[in-house]
Amino acid sequence: MPQLSVMDKLEILSDAAKYDASCASSSTTKRDSLGGKGLGSTTGSGICHSYAPDGRCISLLKILLTNFCTYDCVFCINRSSSNVQRARFSVEEVVALTLNFYKRNYIEGLFLSSGIIRSPDYTMAELVRVAETLRVQHGFRGYIHLKLIPSASPDLVARAGLFADRVSVNIELPSEASLKSFAPEKQPRDISAAMGGLKLKIEESKAERAKTSKAPSFSPAGQSTQMIVGADGASDAAILDRSAQLYGSFGLKRVYYSAFSPIPDSSSQLPLAEPPLLREHRLYQADWLTRFYGFEVGEILDRHSGDMLDLAIDPKLAWALRHRDRFPLDVNSADRESLLRVPGLGPRSVKRILDMRRIKRLRLEDVGKLARSLTTLRNFIVTADWRPGATLDSDRLRQHLAPKPQQLALF
């Protein structure tokens, strides 16, 4: 094989990493390098240093250490049966790229993952070595996210969590059955066991650090995971149920949904189609409703809705249209929980409404200034000077509020 340059490797190994949706660099411990030693800092909320034309944030240098892999997961561009070009970075090359990018303010840090070479432990040890070199040798204070190889030994996991801000495992597919058929070498039980282990370690270190700030932190930014949407036949209800269970069992910060997108040299087992971006978007909205709006999965998708989210309208509007008897709601008297369920109101506008109405009775015009738009909202609320007509009872309301289909790719 001809010798690959660092540039060649970067090309291959960033291309191979792009199917992971996560690029978050938020909510870790706060650090800086004010002492004049080391490099870098972290802020509370993380920074997106650039955006690609796919709309995704570029916050971290997201690469694979190598895309050689002994596993053959059907949905993955790096599966061993694919003919994609292979490359492998040395630990030093990744460290140098990270530092050079960081010093120029291109990135918040590193998100490192890898194909599995030799053994899970060997691979994990290489990932840990990158993080350790950055932290110990170069005093790197930026953000590090390491992907965990599910069956790596507890000792390596502990070291990974010590150097990284976040350690995570991807669940990949919503059901165990599809994981078994699409990723024969990955043991679904290993994946959930690894997440369970991470949760215990994260909690333990939090408890220790509450006692003394000198206690070592373990993955202080918590854990997240990714589920691929549209590669198997799982319904939205199955996906959201799975997420609820993941949030509940493992205290995840985020579940990322990634619309399955065609990969170069794809397997014939997979759908050859455009990625279901709108479906992915609706899943994020539904996920959001369960986390910040007090909805249960069983309310978002119930027996009247079927087990797929409506693609034409957002899940909150869909819910409201199924529960028209609860509307219109008087914004001058309704409680917070009910207001959060009004289509067109988010936690921020609800807070502003609650603040404002202590001072004056709200008119429609006021609400218009507090919320993003009145178009949908006005059909569901009552204000001092406004009450929607019969529209709410009309079946045409859904049609009326559903946005016209539009081209996504216009530039």
């Binding site: 004010l34 030693k37 690609a52 995704r56 369970g196 215990l200 949030y247 507090l370």
Partner: protein
């Protein structure tokens, strides 16, 4: 007309001083002209009387106002000074004014502050340093940046904290920042010509940018919303955007159209080597269709158990643990939240209570084998909490398969049922536990059996007195275990 002179575009201290003076004298907003630096003065204007000759009134503002004003003052809108001054005056009569988000002045000020905060955040994101060699041959970095508002000084601390050990300058049209490794110098604006034009790393950065982009998911509007076009001219990666978009649909189409290829040699060799036979054997074992030769095989097969539905939501199978030569086997109900996460039995609160009781009864926990009637955690999700649920008869029956294998391989002299579920799993007895407690029982194969409560029962008792009484009784039960099997006692 009164003229208020400010030292700089974002001169908050100056604005505050002047505004206090003017407002103290009750000068209406419409009569003040705000001027920055050496701009030409309004011909009809007179300067504010700055000596204390005029009586001034005390000014009151809510705590939120100075913070808001500090942000608004950085905005590029020339009207910002008079807007803030008008707000200051109005606040004297309307102390709640800032909470009225619908008021035109408040609305405008909020929007300006938001725009300033966003510009500050974008500056931390979009500054791009280029490397130069400084006078002593060391590495130094220079960036050229064009913010929308007068924010440079306010963002300086971010760069100082992050790049304290480097030497760097950020040049902007209005102000420049220089960090010499120890101190920050704020200097006048500069021009782009003073900044370096290239950096060798930019080729790598552009390669990264081009390759991290997924052409199958074009979302240009989303990109532009977060990375407004006005910032593009100073981003080395931005020139790639147009060609990447132009080529995207072709590349995505190609991926869809290309026929799957044959796997490479390496893969075929590896597939031939790998052995899926073991997985199949475990499958057959867990279905009960193939013999299980050892405890280790049983534990491995149980990992992939699907004999009942409990595996679907639990994290993992929690098999029994302890020496295979253990004289006593304790059987609980099912793993709890902590056991489920750790994959080990009796490690949660109930397990810890069990450990304490064992120690108090003088028994050696490490010589006992502990397991559960059901090997997966059964729970109901309430929000983010997992609430324990009792396994039903079908689940207990399905899982008895594993309990039977554990008994076969451990062959204890005595089995202790902790709680009704364990007793039910071991004997089929579905009546009350209490009637069986204190009795010498035996299993179908003649193994001796004792029954007592599950330690979680003790945890749930609300009344401290009852708790103490029941704990004593539990320890007494364990003591009987020691009588039956003295080998389990701790060496004195």
């Amino acid at each position: 007309m009164r003229v208020a002179q400010l030292a700089g575009e974002a001169d908050f201290a100056g604005w505050r001083e002047q505004a206090r003076l003017l407002a103290g004298q009750g000068v209406p907003a419409a009569e003040v002209v705000w001027q920055v630096g050496g701009q030409a003065a309004d011909l009809f204007a007179e300067a504010p009387a700055s000596n204390g000759a005029v009586e001034t009134r005390a000014l009151r503002v809510p705590a939120a106002f100075p913070a808001l004003a500090e942000q608004v003052i950085c905005h590029s809108d020339p009207q910002r000074f008079s807007l803030l001054y008008r707000l200051l005056l109005r606040l004297q009569d309307e102390p709640q004014l800032l909470k009225v988000a619908t008021d035109p002045d408040v609305h405008r000020a909020d929007a300006m502050a938001r725009s300033v905060r966003r510009d500050m955040h974008k500056m931390t994101a979009f500054v791009r340093f280029r490397e130069v060699t400084d006078e002593d041959g060391g590495e130094a970095f220079i960036a050229w940046f064009e913010p929308e508002h007068f924010i440079v000084e306010r963002v300086a601390s971010f760069f100082v904290k992050r790049f304290a050990a480097m030497r760097w300058s950020i040049l902007t049209p209005h102000r420049s920042l220089h960090w010499d490794g120890a101190q920050l110098h704020v200097l006048p604006g500069a021009s782009q010509a003073q900044a370096p034009t290239e950096d060798a790393m930019e080729a790598y950065w552009r390669t990264y940018y081009a390759n991290i982009f997924n052409p199958a998911r074009l979302k240009v509007k989303a990109m532009k919303a977060e990375m407004p076009v006005k910032y593009w001219r100073n981003l080395p990666e931005a020139s790639l955007i147009a060609p990447l978009i132009a080529g995207a649909s072709r590349r995505a189409q190609e991926m869809v159209m290309t026929a799957p290829t044959h796997p490479p040699e390496r893969h075929l060799r590896q597939a031939a080597r790998s052995d899926t036979g073991q997985d199949e054997a475990r499958e057959a074992q867990q279905r009960g269709e193939a013999p299980v030769a050892s405890w280790a095989e049983a534990a491995a097969a149980a990992r992939i158990c699907t004999r009942c539905d409990l595996y679907c939501h639990a994290t993992q199978t929690v098999f029994g643990e302890g020496p295979l030569s253990a004289p006593v086997m304790f059987v609980g109900e099912q793993p709890g939240d902590q056991e489920d996460l750790a994959g080990k039995p009796f490690v949660g609160p109930a397990g810890q209570l069990f450990d304490r009781a064992m120690a108090q009864a003088g028994l050696d926990r490490s010589r006992a084998y502990v397991t559960n009637a059901v090997k997966h955690f059964k729970f109901q999700l309430r929000g983010k909490r997992r609430i324990h649920q009792k396994p039903n008869a079908g689940e207990v029956k399905a899982c008895r398969f594993w309990l039977g294998l554990e008994r076969d391989f451990v062959k204890p002299q005595l089995v202790v049922a902790l709680g009704a579920t364990a007793l039910h799993a071991l004997t089929g007895h579905s009546g009350s536990l209490m009637s069986m407690r204190d009795r010498d029982l035996s299993l179908d194969d003649g193994t001796r059996l004792l029954a007592t409560v599950h330690p979680s029962y003790l945890l749930r008792l609300p009344d401290p007195e009852a708790k103490q009484r029941e704990m004593a009784r539990f320890i007494a039960d364990l003591d009987r275990v020691g009588e039956v099997v003295p080998a389990l006692r701790l060496a004195a």
